[in-house]
């Protein structure tokens, strides 16, 4: 069995807040001038991570199905004069990079994952297989505009970050992966389902496609 203990949790839920409002509201949380080109997801993930005070030897696991949707939309709309800034910002793990580049915070292991039905299971497995003393598991989405109308974007903006370690003392929750003797049915769990469970401190018991059962239990 693989297990880690959850010692700190940061959640940001802004639902359908306009990105400009988010930027104005959060600008004092970042170095001066850093927020000008940050995406809404970058701001939210940045705040979530910052509250856990990243360390140089932390492993960071990042999960997002759609990532920088607004930058992607803007980049696609910039053709035929493609925007270099929106191109680089639209690339998948950009939210975490925006946050950590703003603080010039190098890390060794960074695993950005994407997916849908089993993304949560896979992100947890990645975190629990890390050898780092502490793993920051973060993720989130940002609400799209014209891509949302086509149902290929998130309908809300949110982010989360968890600090996981092997130490049980002082933990607020335990997260584990245990083998399923005879795997049959596999559960699905969206990133927002996971976010809701964290917000409501609700336990999770999910069977994943790797033949492992994810259990989240609160103390």
């Amino acid at each position: 069995m693989l297990e880690r203990y959850l010692h700190a949790l940061s959640l940001c839920d802004v639902a359908d807040e306009d990105p400009a409002v988010t930027r104005e509201r959060l600008k004092d949380r970042f170095p001066r001038g850093a927020t000008r080109r940050m995406t809404q997801l970058g701001l939210l993930v940045g705040v979530a991570l910052d509250e856990l005070t990243p360390l140089a030897d932390d492993t960071v696991v990042y999960a997002s199905a759609f990532a920088e949707t607004r930058a992607l939309e803007g980049y696609l709309d910039s053709f035929p004069s493609a925007s270099p800034t929106l191109f680089q910002t639209s690339i998948h793990p950009s939210a975490v990079q925006q946050a950590l580049i703003g603080r010039q915070h190098a890390i060794r292991d960074f695993f950005p994952l994407t997916g849908r039905a089993h993304l949560v299971m896979q992100a947890v497995q990645t975190a629990l297989l890390s050898r780092a003393p502490r793993v920051l598991l973060c993720g989130g989405e940002e609400r799209g505009t014209w891509l949302l109308q086509q149902k290929v974007a998130s309908d809300r903006s949110f982010a989360f970050a968890l600090a996981l370690s092997a130490q049980s003392s002082g933990a607020i929750a335990r997260i584990s992966l245990s083998p399923i003797p005879d795997p049959t049915a596999v559960d699905e769990c969206s990133l927002h389902d996971f976010f809701s469970a964290l917000r409501e401190r609700r336990p999770l018991d999910l069977a994943g496609p790797a033949g492992l059962r994810l259990n989240l239990t609160w103390r």
């Binding site: 759609f66 035929p80 270099p84 191109f87 690339i91 060794r108 950005p112 780092a132």
Partner: protein, 368 residues
């Protein structure tokens, strides 16, 4: 951190504009350049830039994507069944997935493209087409994506969660990505000359797909150490002192101690990164010959680590490594090898890749 578990490479293969791994390796040994000048936005025109497309594939997007036959041909060479089951996980890596479909939708309004536009839609479709189960993890970290897939597969094997693991990577270029690199001005009319000390840098972009089957104990080759480092200094530039390159290579120095290595660098053709990378590789592994192959194949983006793994293993198997095709002297380092060379006096190869955000990844490949 360096990963001490030595996993075996049971099988590998790749597809580039020059063909499969054997054909690509042979063409590189002959010094062939796959890149051709093409309009950066395909049918929408623009500056002519060096691009390398898989043979027979059109540059403009179709629905379903026109690269599926190429992927099918590659996967047909992959032995075994049950990929995507509980004990045979798949790690899919890419930096593009089907994002060219979103460009096609936005430019031309055909909603059929949307079914392939997001990473999960694209991978779910591909998994159905290839008969994979649900145990498919998708990694997206720009041009080090494939390295991360290898490391996650290694960890799954190490933890006893898998009997064998398939790492599969694909990046087929589209106006979405060529337009972006052109806007950054590093994809321009010039052809890439990796590590050449010249006035203007340039890259080429190429199609690439590849696979690697990893096991704990079966296969002719071993991946004996893997390392990552993320500078988080700037989106498109590295720390000027080269510390990010050195930090990634440092754990591999110990793992390579006492071995005669050669170096397969990232070598896209940009000047500053090429200078820093060659200096760091030379400092970490003095006297080791350094080559890069993107001057011929173009940069295969998130798949480059796996494409070049297949070519490096073919080099070891055949005893001959291609030189740095497309480059010219003077180079940033005397370690840069322009012509093919024999690998028979070496024990291992260090394969390195870099990505946006100052991301670095490297591993050591050797005979088992």
């Amino acid at each position: 951190m360096s990963q001490p578990l030595a996993v075996r490479l049971q099988a590998s293969g790749c597809l580039t504009a020059l063909g499969n791994a054997v054909a690509t390796h042979s063409a590189l040994l002959r010094g062939e350049v796959a890149l051709r000048a093409r309009p950066v936005l395909g049918a929408d025109g623009g500056e002519s830039v060096p691009l390398a497309l898989v043979q027979g594939r059109g540059f403009d997007e179709t629905a379903p994507p026109n690269w599926l036959p190429a992927v099918r041909a590659l996967v047909a060479t992959l032995a075994g069944e049950g990929w995507g089951s509980a004990r045979r996980p798949v790690f899919v890596t890419s930096s593009n997935f089907g994002v060219g479909s979103l460009y096609a939708y936005r430019r031309h309004g055909d909603a059929a493209h949307l079914a392939f536009g997001t990473p999960h839609l694209c991978v779910e479709w591909l998994a159905r087409e290839l008969g994979w189960g649900a145990n498919v993890t998708t990694v997206s970290h720009a041009c080090v994506s494939a390295h991360l897939g290898l490391l996650l597969a290694t960890r799954a094997l190490e933890a006893g969660l898998a009997e064998s693991a398939l790492v599969f990577s694909f990046d087929f270029i589209s106006p979405f990505v060529t337009g972006g690199f052109n806007a950054l001005k590093i994809l321009n009319a010039g052809f890439p000359a990796p590590y050449a000390d010249r006035a203007t840098g340039s890259i080429g972009l190429g199609d690439g797909a590849a696979f690697a089957v990893l096991t704990r104990d079966t296969g002719d080759f071993s991946i004996t150490a893997q390392s990552l480092h993320n500078e988080m200094h700037h989106f498109t530039a590295n720390r000027a002192d080269g510390a990010g390159f050195a930090a990634c290579l440092e754990p591999l120095r110990g793992a390579a101690a006492g071995r005669r290595v050669w170096l397969k660098g990232h070598g896209t053709g940009t000047l500053e990164a090429g200078k820093l990378e060659s200096a760091a590789l030379t400092a970490a592994f003095p006297d080791a010959p350094l080559v890069a192959w993107k001057g011929s194949l173009g940069h295969t983006l998130g798949s480059c680590g796996l494409v070049e793994l297949a070519l490096a293993s073919e080099s070891i198997r055949s005893g001959h490594a291609p030189g740095t095709v497309g480059t010219s002297t003077p180079t940033f380092s005397p370690a840069v090898i322009v012509e093919p060379f024999s690998t028979q006096t070496t024990d291992a190869v260090v394969c390195a890749s870099n990505a946006f955000g100052g991301a670095h990844a490297a591993f050591i490949l050797s005979h088992a």
